[in-house]
Amino acid sequence: MIMMTSRQWLATAAGVVILLSLPLFLPNFWLVNIFGRAMVYGVVALSLTFLAHYGGFVSLAQTMVAGVAGYAVAMMAPTAIPLGPLAMPYFAAIPLALLAATVAGAIVGMIAVNTREIYLLMITLALAVGLSLFAQSNITWFRGYEGIRNIIGPEVMGLPFRTPLVFYYVALGVAVSMFLLVLYVVRTPFGLVLQAIRDSDRRAAAIGYYVGLHRIASFALAGFIAGWGGVLITFYNIGITPSSIGLWATVAVLIMAVIGGLGHPLGAFIGALIYTVMDTFASSIIGHDRFNTLIGLVFLAIVLLSPDGVWGLGKRLSTALGKRPQVNADRETSL
């Protein structure tokens, strides 16, 4: 059961209805390159927020895990250039890619199971950069620098995946499902134990819970969520290259999650939207070449001034003004 008051359900429903009706008002560019993109990257950021907020792990391996799914679907895609030896229809390739991401998430969890905080941050970052370097140097499977191209995705109801409306609604469907999945899981016994472990792993262990297994399972679940993002990102980019899972891609997802706020799953999407809007329109402000300086400064400002991100900022503002949280008009909802 997802525990929400009727008012919160109403807000969620309103948010979904607004998002569903966006195609009526917005041009395709906004649908695909702003909202669609923000939602698919937001799903990866969501997996990080889930781990960070409910498990206490700030893992930098989520982009890498998404990349595992992306590379897996690219290697198995029937349209891939160059075509791999494993080519199969998309309806088989996508579930296998999600499985690969789940397994990759579990492996990251196993490697990092005994570490916390900055140690975890370092180890997961090392794993992330490591896979990207491996993909760069391996030709047989990962096709080196070039990567794998022409991953156009399956046809949905006879329409190509890249049709703006199809992409937008699939991205929306996945984003909302994953968002609700997180809200659901954290209320299950598993999710509650996970939060207990976050607060005090010794006490949770003393009560009799197997701490390590819960941690690994949470990484596997985060891997599954990130895998959805990875598959859709690969379709969005029509392919995958090592740089799309490298250090800067990893940092970009971290930036999204932190800017939005690690304190709530919705923060991931807010952050992804802010990042995407800035990435798209920075060129008209300071020239696209210096986007990294701009986003770096914004990130720095958020970390220095409001560590719980825009979500936390909104919450504090609304408390100060004596109002309910009102963070983002078109995605208004709260737990």
């Binding site: 490697i111 370097l133 990294n292």
Partner: protein, 308 residues
């Protein structure tokens, strides 16, 4: 004839083994110089400096900006490299000093937040370096004294500069050991590692010590930058590589331990060179197998201390 042929073959394979091992050793030396700075900063302040790779780049770029015009001039050409090194160290140390004093110092203890701040800084630094110096690869010319190959037994001709890297790494290691074990600053730093609050209560200006150590660690990254850019051409993207290597080396060796950093650098340097020889496109995997194995058996790293 047959015997002679076989002896020669064995000679060749021995030569090959020694050459690859020596290559690993020289690479390990560079990793040690860079990672020891990372480890030093972490040891005292528990700050994971995610901008360490960026400081490496600052050292290389600023060092080159000073070196290049000097090298072109007649008078200074012979000293250009040394001045370049000094400039690289100084620039990285100043950036590090700024980071610690302006941003990291006042959030002491919030380790994750500090790591995030350094990530933000690394993005800005990398982008500003690109804006200021452009993205063209460059390389320092090896100074005349260290230029060219020399004859080594069995191995044969080997670049002098690579051997110099090993000597320099040993010198840095000994220097750090002396600094930490034989000087007043070293005593203060080691006390700070154990208990910062008590140290402050004893009347030591801890923020000043922290700033000094941060500048020193950053300076080592800058030194590594100039050395690295003399050994191999410098290009954008090396910040990621050297951040990664610093992380892996200190994770394997143990955080905050100079000996552990040396051991970790040795393992990773040798693994990288041997990995490239034995299974070329999978060599990165070997590094991570080592890291995962060490973490599974010694979560604190090979020579790291257990947290108290």
């Amino acid at each position: 004839m047959g015997f002679a042929g076989r002896a020669e073959e064995e000679n060749v394979s021995l030569q090959f083994i020694l050459t690859v091992t020596l290559n690993g050793l020289t690479l390990a030396s560079l990793y040690f110089i860079v990672a020891s700075g990372f480890s030093l900063i972490f040891g005292l302040m528990r700050t994971v400096n995610m901008a360490h790779g960026s400081l490496y780049m600052v050292g290389a770029y600023v060092g080159f900006a000073v070196y290049d015009p000097l090298y072109a001039s007649d008078v200074w050409a012979s000293h250009a490299w040394l001045i370049g090194i000094a400039a690289g160290i100084l620039a990285a140390a100043l950036v590090g000093l700024f980071m610690q004093v302006a941003l990291l110092g006042w959030m002491q203890g919030q380790e994750l937040r500090q790591a995030l701040v350094t990530i933000g800084l690394s993005i800005i630094i990398a982008d500003q370096l690109l804006a200021l110096f452009g993205g063209n690869p460059f390389r320092f010319f090896t100074p005349e004294l260290l230029f060219g190959p020399t004859e080594l037994p069995v191995i044969g001709r080997y670049p002098i500069f690579r051997l110099f890297q090993v000597v320099l790494a040993v010198a840095v290691g000994i220097g750090l050991w002396l600094l930490l074990n034989k000087t007043k600053l070293g005593i203060v730093v080691r006390a700070g590692v154990d208990d910062r609050q008590m140290l402050a209560a004893c009347g030591v200006n801890v923020p000043l010590v922290a700033a000094t150590v941060f500048a020193l660690g950053a300076g080592l990254a800058g030194l590594g930058g100039v050395i690295g850019a003399t050994a191999q051409p410098m290009a954008l993207g090396v910040d990621a590589r050297f951040l990664l290597m610093s992380l892996v080396v200190v994770i394997v060796g143990g955080m905050g331990s100079i000996g552990g950093t040396a051991l970790g650098a040795l393992l990773i340097g040798l693994a990288e060179q041997w990995g490239q020889v034995l299974f070329p496109t999978y060599s990165v995997i070997l590094t991570f197998v080592i890291m995962a194995t060490v973490l599974a058996v010694w979560p604190q790293g090979l020579l790291g201390r257990k947290p108290t």
